[in-house]
């Protein structure tokens, strides 16, 4: 679940942990306070309530502090995203075309496959589009997804640092076989990839 398949995955999981830790802390505070008050001020022990209409200082404190914290969350999410989107240089480029209910992966040499082969340690750019309805190119292991929109081109980058076989899924509902668009992303060593790449030619398809 927390396998570090790229540096970006580490930053997303970090943001996830940060937000989750804050959430758990808040939930604990609220819950403990509720239970404590309910027991301590139960009607049988405390029959006469103290009328207290509020406190401006407390209100300001619990407006300002959470604002700062959630803005740090925004910043965290934004910088990761910004770094990812503004990648200027990449090593390999692939054209991903979604259709009901399949994916085509096209390489620079014109070869089209239905399993995506990529080299490890390189920055890869995926150009994503669709020929029919909306789909979404989802790589759970890389914490990445981008919709495939007909008539538009989307893009994402990944830099895998581990070889292995990963799932590709469709994440935007696209009809009866939406669930059946699982394909594989195979991350290989560079020389292995080169060997595979050079053995392919468009004529074979």
């Amino acid at each position: 679940m927390f396998e570090q398949t790229s540096k970006y995955v580490g930053t997303v999981d970090g943001a996830m942990l940060y937000i989750t830790a804050f959430s758990v802390l808040m939930l604990l505070l609220i819950t403990v306070a509720m239970i404590y008050f309910v027991i301590k001020y139960r009607a049988s022990k405390n029959p006469i309530p103290t009328q207290y209409h509020g406190n401006a200082v407390i209100e300001v404190i619990w407006i300002v502090i959470p604002t700062i914290i959630v803005l740090s969350m925004f910043y965290y999410g934004y910088t990761d995203f910004s770094d990812l989107r503004n990648t200027k240089q990449f090593d390999e480029e692939y054209h991903v075309t979604a259709k009901m209910w399949d994916w085509d992966f096209k390489y620079d040499n014109g070869v089209i496959t239905d399993t995506l082969y990529v080299p490890v340690g390189k920055t890869l750019k995926f150009n994503i589009t669709s020929i029919d309805v909306l789909h979404s190119f989802y790589l759970p292991a890389f914490r990445i997804k981008e919709d495939a929109v007909p008539g538009r081109n989307g893009f994402i980058f990944i830099t895998p640092n581990k070889t292995g076989v990963y799932d590709i899924a469709c994440a935007e509902y696209c009809g009866v076989n939406h669930w059946d668009m699982y394909k594989k992303l195979i991350v290989m060593e560079q020389d292995e990839y080169s060997k595979w790449y050079n053995s392919q030619s468009p004529d074979k398809n």
Partner: protein, 562 residues
């Protein structure tokens, strides 16, 4: 339902009133806000049970990988029907139409809403829209677009969505007219002596919601008209093959459908404020902050819609701006939770069934709200978007939060509406079961979502099976709890003991009249207090079985403490 419910023979309650129409027509043609509220309650709960049935079937299908009870096409129809019915027929109209109708006039000391006949028209539109929707959804086609109707899929799917869209259009008008009515009622119908900032927070919540209904709902109407024009005349607004833009549709859809989440949530917050204040025997902590935060949620909630679209391909600038704005909704919502908890502080806490449900709702809603932070930050959302994490977040908010609060309201106002008491013990067992069921059902979905299980999947990879199975068992617990509480209330209507005017010891104006309320509500014109939750000098020992008893010794204690 027993129409002759009565607790007091000295007056005629709104169930007993004779009009020129008889039988069912006496209800369908009534302009009494309470009768209209009851009709909404019956209709809405009926549709809720239909939606619940589809939820039950979906979870059953997810019990094992591969086809369990149905095929993929039918499963897709199930989640579409579940979403459409629950969103448009139950949770959006839900609290405003039922409790808003019945209790806004009662809480502000009015005889009725500002436009009683318009109110009846709203109900008729709701009924027409609902039946049209059900007819088209169930008998006409196997609709399979999901409740979001995303184009181009919804344009090219063989199923005919025209009638369904028309139904949504009519339902929209019902909502707009109700909103208009409530805004006017709150401004013009308050009893002499009650200022805007002296209304109970439930009414405040409904007032803020009414503005969203009036301002946001027309956009879904316009969107529907555009989709119909596109389908009929091939305008090319959304369909890329005609030169249109499918992302534009998503914008228009969410400009309505995100504020719609607040149409669902804000009234529910209002219920919690009233319930927590009543059973803490205290004024709500920071009344004005609560009222303003309600307005703030309504206003900010209007400007965050595109956080549903971080992966849609819209510009990076738009993603950043909408993520930034989204985090500001968290603040007034958080403030509400803090103020509810602070209201308990040094109160006199009575753990009645509505209060227990309210406290459970605050916990479950907090989980739903806090996981919204994960979805507001761009980088984490890109991973979690359209996975089960979103399902879990949304259902913790809606089922854990809003439905809980709706049920808390049902138990809180039950004695007022029907004049009878339900069985408190059974209700509390229901609350505990509900709490367990909701957690078992929805928590595993967070884990599945982070592991990468996309939503709207008929089948799943083997590693998700254990989570799906736990979740399905949870659905059985939750449904048992809901049915238990509903049946308990039904038995209460038939067999419950007389409740008297104010069994909970509440302070807002609806409790100053006999239960059930008389036709024109107030026998004597009520005198509002400057604090809607005025528990000044309250001593719980003086309050027994729905009555305040005088006791000299306690009076002395009261004076010493006041």
């Amino acid at each position: 339902m027993s129409i002759s419910t009565t607790t007091n023979n000295n007056y005629t309650n709104f169930f007993q009133v004779k009009t020129k129409h008889k039988g069912l027509l006496a209800w369908l043609l009534t302009t009494d806000h309470k009768r209209i509220g009851i009709m909404y309650l019956v209709s809405i709960l009926t549709f809720f049970l239909v939606g619940l049935t589809f939820a039950f079937l979906m979870r059953l299908e997810m019990l094992t990988p591969g086809p369990t009870i149905v095929d993929a096409q039918t499963y897709n129809s199930f989640f579409t029907l579940h979403g459409m019915i629950m969103v448009f027929l139950f949770i959006i109209p839900g609290i405003p139409a039922v409790f808003g109708n019945i209790f806004i006039p009662l809480q502000i000391g009015a005889e009725d809403v500002a436009f009683p006949r318009l109110n009846l028209l709203s109900y008729h539109l709701y009924l027409i829209g609902a039946f049209l929707a059900l007819y088209s959804l169930i008998f006409q086609t196997h609709i399979d677009t999901g409740w979001t109707f995303y184009v181009p899929y919804s344009l090219r799917t063989g199923t005919d969505v025209t009638l369904t869209l028309l139904a949504a259009f009519i339902l929209g008008f019902s909502s707009i007219l109700t909103g208009l009515n409530f805004v006017t009622t709150c401004h013009r119908m308050r009893v002499k002596g009650m200022k805007m900032f002296e209304m109970p927070l439930f009414t405040w919540a409904l007032y803020s919601t009414a503005w969203i209904q009036v301002v946001a709902t027309p956009i879904i109407g316009i969107t529907i008209v555009l989709v119909l024009l596109e389908r009929t005349f091939k305008f090319g607004i959304f369909d890329p093959t005609l030169g249109g833009d499918p992302v534009l549709y998503q914008h228009l859809f969410w400009i309505y459908s995100h504020p719609a989440v607040y149409i669902m949530a804000i009234p529910a917050f209002g219920i919690i404020s009233d319930v927590v204040a009543t059973f803490s025997r205290k004024s709500v902590f920071g009344y004005k902050v609560m009222a303003y935060s309600t307005l703030a949620i309504a206003v900010i909630g209007y400007m965050v819609w595109a956080h549903h679209m971080f992966t849609s391909g819209m510009s990076d600038t738009a993603r950043t701006v909408f993520s930034f704005l989204t985090f500001f909704v968290a603040i007034p919502t958080g403030v509400k939770v803090f103020n509810w908890v602070a209201t308990l502080w040094r109160g006199t806490i009575v753990l009645s069934s509505p209060m227990l449900m309210a406290l459970s709702a605050i916990f479950l809603f907090s989980i739903g709200g806090l996981t919204g932070l994960h979805l507001g930050a761009i980088s984490t959302d890109i991973h979690l978007h359209d996975t089960y994490f979103v399902i879990a977040h949304f259902h913790y908010v809606i089922i854990g939060g809003i439905l809980s609060m709706f049920i808390a309201g049902m138990h809180y106002w039950f004695p007022k509406i029907f004049g009878k008491m339900h069985n408190e013990k059974v209700a509390k067992v229901g609350v505990v079961l509900y709490f367990i069921g909701a957690n078992v059902l929805y928590f595993p979905m967070f884990i599945m979502g982070y592991m990468g299980m996309p939503r709207r999947y008929f089948d799943y990879l083997p590693e998700y099976q254990i989570y799906h199975q736990i979740s399905t068992v949870g659905s059985w617990i939750l449904i048992t709890a809901i049915l238990l509480m509903f049946i308990n209330l039904l038995i209460g209507i038939i067999k419950g003991k007389p409740a008297g005017p104010n069994p909970w010891g509440a302070k807002t104006l609806e409790w100053t009249m006999p239960s059930p309320p008389p036709l024109l509500n107030f026998i004597e014109t009520p005198v509002p207090s400057h604090d809607p939750y005025d528990y000044h000098g309250h001593d719980e020992r003086n309050f027994k079985n729905g009555k305040f008893i005088k006791n000299e010794e306690n009076d002395i204690i009261n004076q010493e403490n006041s």
